[in-house]
C-alpha cells in the first residue's frame, strides 16, 4: 500500500508572538486573577497552540481549571507577517458577521447553512470595536479589536446570560493585556 505524506501542523508554544504583527500568545492574555474572580478557582494548566495560515496568525490556549467544565478556550486571530496591510483578520470578521465578501462565497457548498449560523449571532454592546455572542451548546463570544479578534468559549451548566457575563469579564481582561502589547 502506497503511503502518502500528509501535511502536519504541530502544536507549538506561542510565546514568540509580538512585534506588532503577530498576536501575542493566547495563553498570556487572561491573568490568573481574572479567571479566579470569574470562576472561583485558579488555572491548573494552560496549553498553547499557534499556527500561521497565509496572512493570518492564529493562537489558541486551553486554560484547564480544576473543575474541568469551568475551563476556557481562548483563540486569538490577527495578521501574520505576510499581511502587509494588517487587514486580513478584519476582512474575515466582516465576511462572517456582515455577509459574504464576494459572490463566489455565496455559492460555496454549505454556505447557506453557515449563513444560518451567522444569523444567530447576537451583537454585544460596548466591548472592543465590535462583539458578538453566538448561541450554541456552549457559549462563544467573538470580539474584534483593531486588527485582531478573539474568541472565548465557556462550558458548564450555566444559563446563557451567566456564560455571556463570564465570557465578557474574561474578554475585558484579555483586551486590556492586548492593548498593553501594542
Amino acid at each position: 500500500m502506497r503511503q502518502i505524506a500528509a501535511v502536519l501542523i504541530l502544536p507549538t508554544v506561542a510565546m514568540a508572538a509580538g512585534a506588532g504583527k503577530v498576536p501575542a500568545g493566547a495563553c498570556s492574555l487572561i491573568p490568573s486573577a481574572a479567571i479566579q474572580r470569574a470562576f472561583g478557582e485558579p488555572i491548573a494548566n494552560a496549553k498553547p497552540l499557534s499556527q500561521i495560515a497565509g496572512e493570518l496568525s492564529y493562537s489558541h490556549c486551553f486554560y484547564s481549571l480544576p473543575t474541568f467544565t469551568n475551563s476556557i478556550s481562548l483563540s486569538l486571530t490577527g495578521p501574520s507577517p505576510a499581511d502587509a496591510d494588517h487587514n486580513a483578520a478584519r476582512e474575515l470578521w466582516q465576511r462572517w458577521f456582515h455577509g459574504a465578501a464576494n459572490d463566489a462565497d455565496r455559492d460555496a457548498p454549505g454556505s447557506s447553512e453557515e449563513r444560518e449560523a451567522a444569523a444567530k449571532a447576537a451583537p454585544v454592546p460596548d466591548l472592543g470595536d465590535e462583539a458578538f455572542w453566538v448561541h450554541s451548546f456552549v457559549g462563544n463570544l467573538y470580539v474584534l479589536k483593531g486588527s485582531t479578534f478573539l474568541r472565548i468559549s465557556i462550558g458548564g451548566k450555566l444559563t446563557d446570560a451567566e456564560r455571556q457575563a463570564r465570557a465578557r469579564a474574561l474578554a475585558v481582561a484579555a483586551l486590556r493585556n492586548l492593548d498593553r502589547r501594542h
Binding site: 500500500m1 502506497r2 503511503q3 502518502i4 505524506a5 500528509a6 501535511v7 502536519l8 502544536p11 491548573a44 496549553k47 497552540l49 499556527q51 495560515a53 497565509g54 493570518l56 492564529y58 489558541h60 486551553f62 484547564s64 480544576p66 474541568f68 467544565t69 475551563s71 476556557i72 478556550s73 483563540s75 486571530t77 474575515l92 465576511r95 462572517w96 458577521f97 460555496a108 457548498p109 454549505g110 454556505s111 447557506s112 447553512e113 453557515e114 444560518e116 449560523a117 451567522a118 444569523a119 444567530k120 453566538v134 448561541h135 450554541s136 451548546f137 456552549v138 457559549g139 462563544n140 474568541r151 468559549s153 465557556i154 462550558g155 458548564g156 451548566k157 450555566l158 444559563t159 446563557d160
Partner: protein, 608 residues
C-alpha cells in the same frame, strides 16, 4: 441534548445551550481517554469514557468534552484554524487509544480529518493528499480496534472513495474508488464503521448513472444503498447493493443545502454502526417508499423521507469471533402475522440469513393447537408470505422454516391466526386513509395547530353513472374560527401521466375566506418547484371546525384518471405566508410522508 444510562428507559437533560442553537451538524461521540496525553485527563470516577459534542460555529467548528457522561461539557475548542476548512463536518469518533477524529469535506484542495491527541484540548488538521473536495457531502471515519482509520468520502466527481491511515492521519493510503466495482458513478451520504483490525465497512447511496446528480430536470439516475466491506485492511473491498429491488431515490438528490427544491427530501448525516455481535446497521432516509415507488416511477414519486435501517443478515461480521460458519443451513425466518379473513389466512415472515447460499424454499407448518404444527406445504423462496385459503375460519397455528442447498433452518416463533382488520372502503365516509402524520409535529407547535396535518384520505362515492371524481380529505388538528389567514392546505399527488397535481384550500385571498383550487406543478430552471393553479375545485368542497377539509375534484381535471389507475406520492403540506401578503415568504408549517391510492371508480361504489 439528553442522555440515558439504562438503554433508554430514563433520560437526563444535558446542560443545553440556554438559547435556540444557531449551529448545524451537531454530532456526539465517545470513547476512552488518552491517558498518556499532556496534560493528563482529570480523574473521572463516574465515567470511564469521555463524550464529545461537536458542531458548526460560524465558519469554523468546535468540539466540547464531557467528563460526566454528557451531563456537563467544557468549552468549545475550535477544531481547525479559521481558514483551514469550511464549517461543515462529519461525525466525531474516538479511537481505542483516545485519539479523537472529526472529518471535513473541504480543507483547501483536499478533504481532511481534524485530530486531537490530548483529549480535545488542541486539534490538528490532517489532509488526505489525493482527495478532492466533495460535491457537497460530509466524509465519514471509522476506526478499527487497532487504531486504523478509514476515511470514506464523495469526491469532486461524485465517486465513492476510501483511504486508510495507520498513524492517526499523518499519512494515508491511495484512495480506492470502491463504487467503481459496482459501476457506481455517483455517490452521496458516506458513512463508515470499523471493527476488528483489518475490518471496515463503507455505506453510501449510489447510482450507476453519470452526470450532475443535482440536475433536477435532467438527471434520471436510480439510487440504491451500497455497502463496501474490507476484511484485509483496505487491500480489497467487496461491494454489494443491499436493496437491489427497492431503490432509495429516483432522479436528482439535492446536496446543496437550504437553497434546493423538492429533491431535498434526503438529508445528510447518515450513519453506519455495528451491533454487539459485529453486524452492520446503516441508517438513512428512504425517498422511494415501497408501495408508492419503484425504479420505473417518475422523479416526483420519490420524494419521501422515511427513516430506514438496513441490518446485515448474513456473511462475515465486523467482529471475527462472531463470523458464521459458511456455507451452512439458513437462519430461522422470524415469523410475523397470520391475518384471517374470508379469503383465508395470510401468513408473513422475514427473510432470514441465507447461510451463504441462495434460499430455495420455505416450509410452511400448520396446526390446530400450539406446538403441534405439521408440514402444510413448500413454497418458492422468492416470497415471504403465504395465503392459506383453507383457513378462512377456525384457529390455526403456523411456523416457517427455510431451505438452501446445505440444509433446513431451525424454526423461529409461532403465530396464531388473528382477524384481519376491516378493509377500508373508498365508498363510505372519508374513504381510504392514504397518509397519516403525527399530531403536534408542526412548526412552532403547539402554535399553528390549524396547520397540523393528521391524515389524508381519498373517497370515490357514487353520485351518478357519468360522474367521476375524487373526494380528497385533509384532516388537520382544528379549523376553529377564525381560520388562519394567509395560509394554504395542499395535497399533492402524481398521476399516471407523470404530472404532479395538487388540490388545496387557501386563505390568502381577500378577507381570508378559504377557497378551494386545483392545479399542477412544474420545475423551474433553478430546480425549485412552482405551483400553477388551473382552476377552482368543485363547489361542494368544504371545511369544518374539527379540522376536516374535503376537496372534491373531477378526475378529468387531474390527468383523466380512471378506475384502476394508481396515483403515487400522495402527500400533504401546509404553508403560511410570513411577512404579509405580497411581500413575505411561504414558510412550510407541516408536511407528510407519501402514500398511494388505486382508483376503484365511482361506479364501483354504486349501492355500497
Amino acid at each position: 441534548m439528553a442522555f440515558s444510562d439504562d438503554d433508554g428507559n430514563t433520560w437526563l437533560q444535558s446542560q443545553g445551550s440556554g438559547q435556540p442553537a444557531g449551529v448545524d451538524h451537531q454530532t456526539v461521540g465517545g470513547g476512552p481517554y488518552n491517558t498518556s496525553a499532556t496534560p493528563p485527563p482529570p480523574p473521572h470516577p463516574a465515567y470511564n469514557n469521555t463524550v464529545y459534542y461537536c458542531s458548526q460555529d460560524i465558519a469554523t467548528a468546535f468540539c466540547a468534552r464531557s467528563d460526566d457522561g454528557g451531563l456537563t461539557f467544557g468549552p468549545g475548542v475550535p477544531i481547525y484554524n479559521l481558514t483551514q476548512c469550511s464549517g461543515i463536518h462529519g461525525h466525531v469518533k474516538v479511537a481505542t487509544d483516545g485519539t479523537v477524529y472529526v472529518p471535513n469535506r473541504g480543507c483547501g484542495a483536499n478533504q481532511a480529518v481534524a485530530v486531537s491527541s490530548d483529549n480535545g484540548l488542541t486539534w490538528a488538521v490532517r489532509p488526505i493528499p489525493d482527495s478532492t473536495p466533495a460535491i457537497g457531502n460530509d466524509p465519514s471515519v471509522g476506526i478499527a480496534s487497532d487504531g486504523t482509520v478509514y476515511f470514506g468520502y464523495q469526491d469532486s466527481s461524485g465517486a465513492a472513495k476510501i483511504a486508510v491511515s495507520r498513524d492517526e492521519g499523518k499519512t494515508w493510503s491511495s484512495s480506492v474508488n470502491v463504487g467503481a466495482q459496482a459501476s457506481v458513478a455517483n455517490a452521496v451520504f458516506p458513512a463508515v464503521a470499523a471493527g476488528d483490525s483489518q475490518r471496515a465497512a463503507f455505506f453510501f447511496i449510489g447510482s450507476t448513472t453519470p452526470g450532475n446528480l443535482q440536475d433536477t430536470a435532467n438527471y434520471k439516475g436510480i439510487w440504491y444503498p451500497f455497502m463496501a466491506v474490507t476484511y484485509d485492511g483496505g487491500a480489497n473491498y467487496f461491494v454489494v447493493n443491499t436493496s437491489p429491488t427497492d431503490p432509495v431515490q429516483v432522479g436528482s438528490i439535492c446536496i446543496g443545502g437550504t437553497t434546493c427544491g423538492a429533491d431535498r427530501n434526503l438529508l445528510d448525516f447518515n450513519d453506519l454502526t455495528i451491533d454487539s455481535q459485529g453486524r452492520l446497521l446503516a441508517g438513512f432516509a428512504d425517498g422511494c417508499v415501497a408501495g408508492a415507488c419503484d425504479a420505473s416511477s417518475p422523479n416526483t414519486a420519490s420524494r419521501s423521507a422515511l427513516g430506514t435501517v438496513i441490518r446485515q443478515s448474513g456473511g462475515r461480521r465486523m467482529f471475527a469471533t462472531y463470523d458464521p460458519a459458511e456455507p451452512a443451513a439458513p437462519g430461522a425466518p422470524e415469523i410475523g402475522t397470520a391475518l384471517q379473513s374470508s379469503t383465508g389466512t395470510l401468513l408473513t415472515w422475514q427473510a432470514p440469513d441465507n447461510g451463504g447460499a441462495p434460499l430455495k424454499q420455505y416450509l410452511i407448518y400448520r396446526g390446530t393447537s400450539s406446538g403441534n404444527e405439521t408440514l402444510l406445504t413448500k413454497i418458492n423462496a422468492s416470497k415471504t408470505s403465504f395465503l392459506d385459503t383453507k383457513a378462512a375460519t377456525g384457529t390455526f397455528y403456523y411456523r416457517v422454516a427455510a431451505i438452501n442447498q446445505y440444509g433446513t433452518s431451525k424454526l423461529c416463533g409461532e403465530v396464531m391466526t388473528t382477524p384481519a382488520p376491516p378493509i377500508p372502503s373508498s365508498c363510505t365516509g372519508t374513504g381510504v386513509t392514504v397518509v397519516t402524520d403525527p399530531t403536534g409535529d408542526q412548526a412552532a407547535a403547539p402554535a399553528n395547530s390549524q396547520l397540523d396535518i393528521e391524515s389524508i384520505s381519498i373517497a370515490e362515492k357514487f353520485v351518478s353513472s357519468t360522474t367521476n371524481r375524487l373526494t380528497i380529505t385533509l384532516k388537520v388538528a382544528n379549523l376553529n374560527t377564525p381560520v388562519t389567514p394567509n395560509a394554504s392546505w395542499t395535497v399533492f399527488f402524481t398521476a399516471p401521466n407523470g404530472t404532479e397535481y395538487f388540490v388545496n384550500m387557501n386563505s390568502d385571498g381577500a378577507g381570508g375566506t378559504p377557497v378551494f383550487q386545483y392545479g399542477h406543478t412544474s420545475t423551474l430552471a433553478t430546480g425549485s418547484t412552482q405551483q400553477n393553479t388551473d382552476g377552482t375545485a368543485d363547489a361542494s368542497s368544504t371545511f369544518s371546525s374539527d379540522g376536516t377539509i374535503s376537496i372534491i375534484i373531477d378526475d378529468g381535471l387531474i390527468g383523466g384518471l380512471k378506475a384502476g389507475d394508481t396515483i403515487v406520492n400522495v402527500n400533504g403540506k401546509t404553508q403560511l405566508l410570513v411577512g404579509g401578503d405580497g411581500t413575505g415568504l411561504l414558510e412550510t408549517i407541516d408536511s407528510t410522508a407519501a402514500g398511494r391510492y388505486i382508483l376503484v371508480g365511482n361506479a364501483f361504489c354504486q349501492g355500497k
